[in-house]
Amino acid sequence: MKKKKTIGRIIYHVLVSAFGFLMVYPLLWMVMSSFKESNTIFRTASSLIPEKFTFANYATGWRGFTGITFATFFKNSMVISVIATIGSVFSSAIVAYGFTRSKFKGRGFLFTCMLVSMMLPFQVIMIPQFIWFKQLGWVGTYLPLIAPYFFGQGFFIFMIMGFMEGIPTELDEAAKIDGCSYYGIFGRIMLPLIVPSMVTAGIFSFMWRWDDFLAALLYISDPVKYPISIALKLFSDPGSTSDYGAMFAMATVSIVPAVLIFIFFQKYLVDGIANTGLKG
């Protein structure tokens, strides 16, 4: 009996890690390439290990452009991503609550609006939105990159709604009997229960804001304010030499926050025994 289990476990681990290696190979390739000399990257593309291990790319990459180092770009991305994420997650949660737990006039209409807002390709509203933001005087600031996210984001509203629908309404009623207001129910009952979905939303939001370059491209012209997403692209200009080594080096640096956040917040997604509140 025990042997079966151990063999089963060994097979499990072998398969999962083999597959995991496949998953991670491209990332490994990028990281290893960042330690190769720039102009050997393509010639030695099939081997992971660099012929000549070098940190030069990190130095070159970090130097950034015209005296603005990657530290600045990093800080900019941090500011934008963190603030937008906080705004996005909390506002989406509140809006999801409104959609799930109540009926009011226009609910169907607004829900449809929300779905529609997710279905339009950005490239097509990018110019009208630019003109509109220009009227508001927001061009050149971070406002277009942060403010809209404080008003709920379709994707997250929809996702959190799904989670909320899974929470039995008995809890709401129990709380109401106890004298909780509608908003109190949100704060005391809902919020603790949807932590996993909010964490998921937070991880996604952070990553998407971090990677988003189209909005930054249009609204930010001062290189000092560039986020990392734009700065990375600056390394590869087809007309002149592209420094792929530096780009990979900085790209590696750039994924560190997302990886750390994931590792750190993972536990909210899987750990422990789920608390449904039914006991209380």
Binding site: G98, S102, V116, Q123, I203, M207, D211, S236, F262
Partner: protein, 325 residues
């Protein structure tokens, strides 16, 4: 049944308060108003930031607009041209449909499967989860584009592996199929890329699985149900709202996919990998035909809208939900 209970509850406070005026707080606390207040951030944001640009883009779809000068109204001409005289439009539509209907189901299946396997709270599982999620993090980067090309090149990693595999059986081959260069297989490299990045769907399933009370599983264990059956009788049904959500979102993302095509193949070879949004982008920004591109966007919007509506209609047949909809 539950809604009846709520109605009954509402009547009594209101009846007794009919004599006194409702305080502001009580007004705000009414279920209907409270709902409106909670949704208000979205309403405001939508009207402030999205509505006008959306209407403008609809207007542009009826014009010739080269971005550098003012738009000129031409009525339905863009739409007519699209359907009657644009082979690339139809081709890109076909490619995008194919891409969506292959990559989305594959992604969801992988995501659910891996989520189930990795749901344990052990440290090793945590590492595995991170590893399986990593591909999603480096999403649309140039590094992925370069690497993907290297992998599927005629002298690339995949062919090398296949060659050594054949070598094991004593077959001496110099297999050098051009995965990327052949119109039949190029689109599959993009599908594989999309499926490879299933990490985000996996994440959503993980958090949904966590929300299933373990008491259900404990009860099933007591009954002696196999883990296999538990999956199909407990987990899957309770996950259907999440599956539904994931399906809608992935479908929308599939139709609007842009980056993979743009950074890796740009539609080549021979438009066999031309995503709809990439063609739309080319028309809008490279050919300076923003009006035409806007028309394309609205057509896609309608397509996605119809499919989403159909999916919503099927919701009651297979999605298990406790809240009202």
């Amino acid at each position: 049944m539950k809604s009846d209970k709520k109605e009954v509850k509402k009547v009594s406070p209101q009846v007794s308060h009919r004599r006194a005026k409702l305080t502001l707080w009580q007004k705000l606390n009414r279920q209907s108003t409270a709902g409106f207040v909670c949704v208000f951030p979205f309403t405001f944001g939508f009207f402030a930031f999205t509505l006008i640009p959306v209407i403008m883009s609809l207007y542009y779809s009826f014009t010739i607009f080269d971005t550098l000068s003012a738009p000129k109204f031409i009525g339905l001409q863009n739409y007519i041209t699209l359907f009657s005289n644009d082979a690339r439009f139809l081709k890109s539509l076909g490619v995008t449909f194919f891409f969506t209907f292959t990559s989305v189901p594959l992604r969801l299946v992988f995501a659910l499967f891996v989520a189930m396997i990795l749901v344990k709270a052990t440290k090793i599982s945590a590492i595995y989860r991170a590893v399986y999620y990593l591909p999603s993090i480096i999403g649309g980067s140039v590094a992925v584009a370069i690497l993907w090309k290297r992998m599927f090149a005629t002298d690339g990693v995949l062919n090398t592996i296949l060659n050594s595999f054949f070598g094991l059986f004593g077959i001496d081959s110099s297999f050098d199929y051009a995965w990327l260069g052949s119109t039949n297989t190029a689109i599959w490299t993009l599908v594989i890329l999309a499926v490879w990045q299933f990490g985000s769907s996996m994440l959503i399933f993980l958090s949904a699985i966590k929300q299933i009370p373990t008491s259900y599983y404990e009860a099933a264990d007591v009954d002696g149900t196999s883990k296999y059956r538990q999956f199909f009788s407990i987990t899957l049904p309770l996950l259907t709202p999440t599956v539904f959500f994931n399906l809608i979102m992935q479908m929308i993302n599939g139709f609007l996919a842009f980056t993979q095509c743009y950074i890796i193949t740009q539609g080549k070879p021979l438009d066999s990998t031309l995503f709809y949004t990439v063609y739309m982008y080319e028309k809008s920004f490279k050919d300076y035909a923003m009006g035409y591109g806007s028309a394309m966007a609205w057509i896609m919007l309608i397509i996605i809208g119809v499919i989403t509506l159909l999916l919503f209609k099927t919701k009651k047949f297979w999605v298990v939900g406790e809240g009202e909809q």
